[in-house]
């Protein structure tokens, strides 16, 4: 039951994600230049600035050798979690619908946000309570998809997390903080659950996402 956490040269939160995953299971880093996922049962695409992200967040990272492997892994049903920059990368790689745009407030913003768990019966949220307090920190976090796509995402239960009223500082459409793909095995969110796993450094509300993934991995192997 191992998590693999991708490491790009400009990743920043990969060690945090590694340690968060280790609270519920085994985890190791996967270098961006490799195509070998080393048999992990779930992949985490972490936060940071993968390749500097100067052009558009996530635009260059999606072409990394490791992403080719992640794309096949996801197509075969493997669990993939994208956090912040990882979410952007997964959207750019078309593993998730929509795109992320610069924050409506035009600034990098770092803030503890209150989230509502919209779907509690998924591989990423099964262990979560109804609401979570988790930090968000980004400058490109405005979730966008066209109206038809948004309707469909909502109708098919693909919106897993929403910003609670007044918490949506980045201007995400329909307050979307996290979405999954239609198959249900790929999930991206802008807030950072890996930074909410220890009471000493904040809340522990993020742990439930890793815990949900662990349950899913065990279920898949049972």
């Amino acid at each position: 039951m191992r998590f693999g956490v991708l490491q790009f040269p400009g990743s920043c939160d990969e060690i945090d994600a590694l340690h968060a995953a280790r609270r519920v299971g085994d985890a190791e880093l996967l270098w961006h230049g490799t195509q070998d996922l080393k048999g992990v049962a779930a992949v985490v695409v972490p936060g940071g600035f993968s390749y500097g992200d100067y052009l558009r967040a996530g635009a260059i990272a999606r072409f990394a050798p490791v992403m080719e492997a992640v794309i096949s892994f996801a197509r075969e049903g493997g669990l993939v979690l994208g956090i912040c920059n990882g979410f952007q990368v997964l959207c750019e790689a078309h593993l998730l619908p929509g795109a992320l745009l610069p924050n409506a407030n035009r600034r990098f913003t770092s803030r503890q946000v209150q989230l509502e768990v919209v779907q509690g019966d998924t591989d990423f949220t099964r262990a979560c309570p109804a609401s979570l307090s988790i930090p968000a920190k980004h400058s490109w976090g405005r979730y966008y998809a066209d109206e038809a796509t948004l309707d469909e995402l909502e109708a098919s239960g693909q919106v897993l997390l929403r910003y609670a009223p007044t918490e949506n500082f980045n201007g995400s459409l329909r307050d979307i903080a996290g979405v999954r793909n239609a198959a249900g095995n790929v999930f991206g969110l802008m807030p950072h659950p890996e930074h909410a796993v220890d009471p000493l450094t904040g809340s522990t509300d993020g742990l439930c996402i890793f815990e949900s993934m662990r349950l899913a991995m065990e279920g898949a192997h049972a």
């Binding site: 990743s11 920043c12 600034r107 990098f108 770092s110 904040g202």
Partner: protein
């Protein structure tokens, strides 16, 4: 190489004096050529040679039980236990930030981070210290916006949290803003590396970004005439690339982990010139550099330009010949350009080649050690140096009106609109974020082993850090004002339960050749040394930035103090906010509030006083000791030091941070305004259970003044009852949001 040698006029234009130029000729045994003159002019500049400050700096205490590396290296370092050291330093990027605030501040952060990993430490935190003109000035707002965005851009992108800082708005900084950045890093003790080159025959490897005309500024007078013709003045703004630096950082640390380096040095001010010369000087060796091998970003750089370019994100290392391939291979892994550009020699000379041609040849000693040092001619000013500020608080404002006015003033309002632009939590060490406590607290191990069930959780050692300086108080009294700045840093550490390990400082002053500035500088350094000695918090490094003045006069003297401390258990790190209804509130320490040089005096448009009140450093230290001890023992719910705005502002801050109110009774004293809003060192506001609070009693002054209540702040002052709702205070406190539309 041009046949014509530069003239004495060129030397003067480059900032050397006539006498210095003659000394250069004497050391060279001839007139220097273009490359040599460019290099001398930079290494003999105030910035590199500390001509006006070195003698003073020698008076500072630099040794102590925790010091592992003192001044002289890229950063200082202190022992933090478990085989680890903490490296830290503060540095200024004032001038570049005044020219282009975003890039200036961003590259300031980049520069201080390189100093940290140049000694082998992984950067774990950044703090910023900013000064601008009054907040209603358009230029101040432009500079503030750019500087904050730039700091955030660099720190956020490279994955180092910005955990604290300070910003003040005062008229004397209008034409000369200050942008100082401090960084901390951690290293296993055995990974620490020095910058001294050694081993003739060893290879000099330059790695990182390619070299362009960045920051050539002053030296551009040397550019050959043909190139200048018709050319508009070349842009020399340095642009930061945090992604390049992130790779450089990881690459540098891996090179050290693999034991591949003899010495490591960052390229900062004066680029290759200063890095190579410093490395050679510290190792008492010579260095040959072939500039033809330096990777260039644009063609046609002249030899002197390559030597003085301040292109960012570059490092220089010394490698034994047999390890060069391994070094270059690691550079390749991190997609960092690495090139062997020279070698260590036993000649004691710095020789610059362009291919086969020798284009510069200088004794290392002359370059680094022989710049003349100057004595200051200090004299206290006879007339006030700084004009009184404009009055902004209505005449006759009541006690009740004054508190929200202070909370809304630019120097006191919440810094949230700034620090929300910084990632303060990446790396998972941040136990206290901005506005949670007086000092930032970082646990040393971000992923401690899980506690075994049934056993008490293991203690998690942590670092605490604070950066501080109230320039107005230093202007009023450089000696006592500087002592106060050091005491305030230590007080901030005490509030979270931390004991000081070491201190860094950035001396931002105006032109030291002016007697009153020389006086400010020497008085400040005297205070700095005295306070650091008393607190046993020695100086392990720092920076000096002089000539900060504009047409309308000098900046406030601003010796920015950064202090790092340690606490045994992050689980007991103090908070500043009131935590529980019913808790007892006490005023602790030898606090003697006065309105002299206070924030209220500023709002009232009062000129600076002639001096500050006397300070009993020992009594202050006892209070800090008591607060620290009680916090470590888990006896307190909160602790906050009383600073700008005095007791009433401190009370309001504790209320707002905790989302609770307070009910307090005080003696009005001679002047109720001084009682509520007077400032001075040594005061703490603590809360806790009655038992917890009384545990401090024997060691310092403790006055119980009230208790924590639900949702308003009330102060009974003899006959007068004052009441504010939390929402009124909170609205006032958020005033800075208006600066970031």
């Amino acid at each position: 190489m041009p046949d014509v040698l530069p003239t004495v006029e060129d030397a003067l234009a480059l900032g050397l004096t006539q006498a210095e130029y003659e000394l250069v000729c004497e050391k060279q045994g001839r007139a220097p050529n273009q490359v040599e003159l460019a290099m001398y002019s930079l290494l003999w500049s105030e910035h590199c040679a500390y001509k006006h400050s070195k003698k003073l700096l020698r008076t500072l205490p630099t040794e102590g039980r925790y010091v592992v590396m003192g001044p002289g290296e890229n950063a200082g370092a202190v022992d933090v236990g478990d085989g680890l050291v903490c490296a830290f330093k503060v540095e200024s990027h004032n001038h570049p930030s005044a020219v282009e605030p975003f890039q200036g501040a961003a590259t300031g952060v980049g520069g201080i981070l390189r100093d940290i990993f140049a000694i082998g430490a992984r950067p774990i935190a950044v703090l910023d210290s900013l000064r601008f003109g009054e907040a209603d000035s358009e230029r101040s707002r432009y500079l503030l916006d750019g500087a904050v965005a730039g700091i955030g851009h660099y720190g956020n992108s490279i994955g180092v949290p910005t955990v604290g800082g300070e910003v003040y708005f005062e008229g004397p900084y209008e034409q000369n803003c200050l942008v100082n950045a401090m960084a901390l890093g951690l290293a296993p003790r055995e990974r620490l590396v020095r910058s001294a080159a050694a081993g003739p025959g060893n290879v000099l490897v330059l790695f990182g970004a390619s070299t362009g005309r960045d920051g050539i500024g002053g030296a551009s007078v040397l550019a050959s005439a043909e190139l200048d013709e018709g050319d508009e003045k070349r842009p020399t703004v340095q642009v930061g690339d945090p992604f390049e630096e992130k790779k450089l950082l990881e690459c540098s640390l891996q090179l050290l982990d693999h034991g591949l380096l003899v010495a490591l040095q960052d390229l900062g001010a004066a680029g290759l010139t200063s890095s190579a010369a410093e490395m050679a000087s510290k190792g008492e060796v010579g260095i040959d550099i072939d500039i033809a091998r330096v990777p260039l970003r644009e063609p046609d750089l002249e030899p002197f330009e390559v030597m003085v370019s301040e292109s960012q994100e570059r490092m220089l290392c010394v490698v034994a010949p047999e390890w060069v391939d391994a070094v270059l291979a690691l550079c390749e892994k991190w997609e960092v350009n690495g090139t062997a550009i020279g070698s260590v020699t036993d000649s004691g000379r710095l020789r610059v080649f362009a291919g086969d041609e020798l284009v510069g040849d200088m004794p290392v000693r002359a370059l680094v050690d022989d710049c003349p040092l100057y004595d200051l001619a200090p004299a206290a000013p006879e007339a006030p140096v700084y004009p009184a500020p404009t009055r902004v608080l209505a005449e006759g404002a009541s006690l009740r009106e004054t508190l929200p006015a202070l909370l809304a003033s630019a120097n006191l309002a919440s810094r949230r609109p700034l620090f929300e632009q910084y990632d303060s939590i990446v790396q998972s060490r941040t136990v206290r974020r901005p506005e949670q406590a007086d000092a930032a607290v970082l646990q040393i191990d971000p992923s401690p082993a899980a506690d075994s069930p049934g056993e008490a959780p293991a203690a998690r050692p942590a670092l605490a850090v604070s950066i501080d300086c109230n320039g107005r108080r230093v202007a009023a009294d450089p000696y006592r004002g500087t002592i106060e700045a050091v005491l305030e840093c230590a007080a901030n550490l005490a509030c979270v339960g931390a004991e000081p390990l070491g201190t860094t400082n950035n001396l931002n002053f105006a032109n030291p050749e002016k007697p009153h500035v020389a006086w400010q500088l020497s008085e400040a350094v005297r205070g700095l040394g005295e306070a650091c000695r008393a607190l046993e918090a020695p100086i392990v490094g720092g920076n000096v930035s002089l000539y900060n003045e504009g047409a309308s006069g000098p900046i406030y003297p601003t010796p920015v103090i950064g202090m790092v401390g340690r606490l045994p258990d992050a689980a007991r790190a103090g908070r500043l906010g009131f935590a529980a209804e019913g808790d007892t509130i006490a005023l602790v320490g030898p606090f003697a509030p006065s309105l002299a040089a206070s924030e209220l005096a500023k709002l009232r448009g009062e000129a600076l006083p002639e001096r500050l009140g006397d300070i009993d450093i020992d009594a202050v230290r006892c209070a800090q000791f008591a607060v620290r001890g009680a916090m470590r023992a888990g006896a307190l719910s909160s602790a906050h030091d009383i600073a700008e705005g005095g007791l009433a502002v401190a009370l309001a801050e504790c209320c707002l941070a905790g989302g609770l109110g307070a009910q307090v009774r005080l003696d009005a004293g001679d002047d109720p305004f001084a009682t509520l809003f007077g400032e001075g060192p040594g005061g703490f506001l603590i809360s806790g259970t009655a038992n917890g609070v009384s545990s401090l009693g024997r060691r310092t002054f403790v006055r119980i003044i009230g208790s924590v209540v639900k949702d308003s702040l009330s102060i009974a002052l003899d006959g007068e009852d004052l009441l504010w709702s939390l929402s009124e205070l909170s609205t006032a406190h958020q005033a800075l949001a208006a600066l970031f539309p």
